[in-house]
């Protein structure tokens, strides 16, 4: 997805929408594409206000709280009993999580 960072000619295309939908494993209902494109476009245009702020001397924020180096020692803790681990699995087999076909032909 290429954005025009000046914000003047920003345009989400149908291909962008389809690509995002595929990446998100979502399907776009019939007749909704145009609405979604417009909505995405207006969200991105709004967010683009941020690019007007001068951030040349500001480090990217990667973590909202003033924390660093939160570590744990390398000590084994009990794992879940397998029955509990598998309790919510839609399908299971011989202690495994069972999943449908992974790669399409």
């Amino acid at each position: 997805m290429q954005f025009d960072l000046d914000g003047e000619n920003m345009k989400v295309t149908k291909e962008d929408l389809e690509n995002v939908a595929v990446l998100s494993r979502l399907s776009v209902p019939e007749g909704k594409a145009e609405t979604y494109i417009q909505q995405m476009d207006s969200i991105l245009t709004y967010m683009d206000n941020l690019s007007k702020v001068d951030t040349d001397n500001v480090k990217p924020t990667t973590y909202a709280l003033p924390m660093q180096n939160v570590f744990r020692e390398d000590v084994v803790k009990p794992s879940l009993p397998r029955e509990e681990a598998l309790a919510n699995a839609p399908l299971q087999e011989d202690g495994y999580f069972k999943v449908p076909k992974v790669l399409e032909d």
């Binding site: 990446l23 990667t62 973590y63 660093q68 180096n69 390398d74 598998l86 069972k98 999943v99 076909k101």
Partner: protein
């Protein structure tokens, strides 16, 4: 046209921590499926991962041991993709601020040194294991997933595309393996998948700079497969280019049984991992003191150890290279030498009879039936002229299955070298009397003829005569 291969490796190295990278689940190999799992590594909602301190330590040490710059500000990122081996639908990895960058290691191929640059080393979690119901992923209607390995810590070590052949790639991977073993961050057991490589291969006409289109082969887990996959891929791409075609950028799978690579065509769109900073893991800030502390804890590394063996013991560069190629072998060597054994003899025995027997029986040197101490004692017997080098081979063979001291074996088997002048003299006289032709040749100036006479004496004494004494005595007698 003549082509040049351009090869880069991404090596995944499983770390030998007790627990996973973000939770306290055990990492042990071979546990029952889905018994080393918890809400964190299963990606259940509402959990908070916490970084295992040892993983950061190992990452920094690996960086220092490969001449990298350590990033004092490092963070984790989410790499998004949908595949059932990761239950969260993203892999927690590192994107723009990996723990270490810009390193290098030196490799030797055919006696020539070459420097291979490292792009980066980053920390990430391993994925789970899929067991397919069919024979391949494509013909399987369903797959079973074991998440024990999910969250096991990995270092991904990425090289620049500096490698030009399968041999160089192998030498590079062997060097990385040796370094990771030396600094003790990984077991490096390739058969257990501790060390796996993704290979990128492209070709370009010799003399050009621009990179060709590359293909990628993932999860190569043996040196042989690494070489075979690269050699096959170079040939395949050459054929494509020679026929006027274009190499397609794709991931290919290597089939070791047939020695070929195959396209893994799928309808999957081109990858778009949409990396984003991992909001649940605060950044890792490392002080100069911490970096220096870890640096001070590093052991002598393979290159330094190799140089030391050459300098201290006069080993050849080649021998020192082999001895130091694994930490276990280098330590074995040091232990043999510590018994007072001659270093060159020690190196020869380790690379010769010991390596041969270990290979044949598929035994790791750390579990050798002939311990370093016993080999040292046996070499001591050679040095004291109690046994000859030739007899030592018999003694060594016996030691392989007999736990006795070499000295006792030599006595019990009657292998003590004959150094009794009288006994040797009798055999020497007999040999001279029985071989007038060799004697005449020797006296006529053909000095090599003495070899036949020495052989006769050794045969008569069943190899137990001291060869130096035999030579000396023969020369004296024939000089009369």
């Amino acid at each position: 046209m003549k082509y040049e291969a351009v090869i880069g490796l991404e090596i995944h190295c499983e770390l030998k921590t007790k627990t996973k990278i973000f939770c306290g689940c055990a990492t042990g190999f071979g546990a029952e499926q889905n018994t080393h799992v918890c809400p964190v590594c299963l990606g259940l909602p509402g959990v908070l991962p916490t970084v295992n301190k040892r993983v950061v330590e190992f990452g920094i040490k690996a960086g220092l041991a490969t001449n990298c710059t350590i990033n004092k500000y490092s963070k984790f990122d989410r790499k998004n993709y949908y595949y059932p081996d990761l239950p969260k639908n993203w892999q927690t990895s590192q994107y723009d601020l990996p723990i270490a960058e810009h390193g290098w290691v030196d490799i030797d191929v055919d006696g020539e040194k070459k420097r291979i640059r490292l792009t980066r080393i980053h920390m990430e979690e391993d994925a789970g294991k899929l067991v397919h119901s069919g024979t391949t992923i494509k013909d399987s209607a369903t797959s079973n997933v074991d998440y024990n390995r999910t969250g096991v810590p990995l270092l991904e070590i990425v090289s620049e595309p500096d490698l030009r052949s399968a041999e160089e790639a192998r030498a590079y991977m062997e060097k990385i393996k040796a370094i990771m073993e030396y600094i003790d961050v990984s077991n490096c057991r390739m058969e257990e998948g501790n060390l796996r490589a993704d290979i990128n291969v492209s070709l370009r006409p010799v003399g050009t700079k621009e990179l060709g289109t590359r293909t990628e082969m993932k999860n190569i887990n043996s040196f042989k497969n690494l070489e075979d996959a690269i050699n096959y891929e170079i040939e395949r791409q050459e054929d494509v280019l020679e026929d006027g075609g274009h190499v397609v950028q794709e991931t290919r799978t290597f089939d070791p049984a047939r020695g070929i690579t195959l396209s893994m065509r799928s309808k999957e769109n081109a990858h778009d991992y949409r990396y984003m900073p991992e909001p649940d893991l605060p950044p890792i800030v490392t002080s100069e003191e911490t970096i220096e502390k870890y640096r001070s804890e590093l052991p002598e590394l393979p290159d330094a150890r190799r140089a030391r063996l050459e300098k201290e013991y006069g080993l050849s560069d080649y021998d020192a290279g082999i001895i130091t190629s694994s930490r276990a072998m280098a330590e074995y060597f040091d232990s043999v030498v510590a018994t007072g054994a001659d270093p060159k003899l020690a190196a020869n025995w380790i690379m010769g009879d010991l390596a041969k027997n270990l290979n044949e029986d598929g035994i790791d040197i750390t579990k050798s039936p002939v311990s370093a101490e016993r080999l040292g004692k046996m070499i001591g017997l050679i040095m004291k002229d109690t046994i000859s080098g030739k007899i030592a081979k018999k003694v060594f063979k016996e030691m392989w299955t007999n736990e006795d001291d070499p000295e006792k074996i030599v006595k019990d088997k009657g292998l003590v070298q004959i150094t009794d002048t009288g006994a040797i003299e009798a055999a020497v006289d007999a040999a001279i009397a029985a071989n007038p032709k060799a004697v005449a040749e020797y006296k006529g100036g053909k000095k090599k003829a003495i070899g036949a006479l020495v052989g006769q004496v050794m045969k008569a004494t069943r190899g137990k005569a001291n060869p130096q004494m035999v030579n000396k005595m023969l020369a004296e007698k024939l000089a009369d």
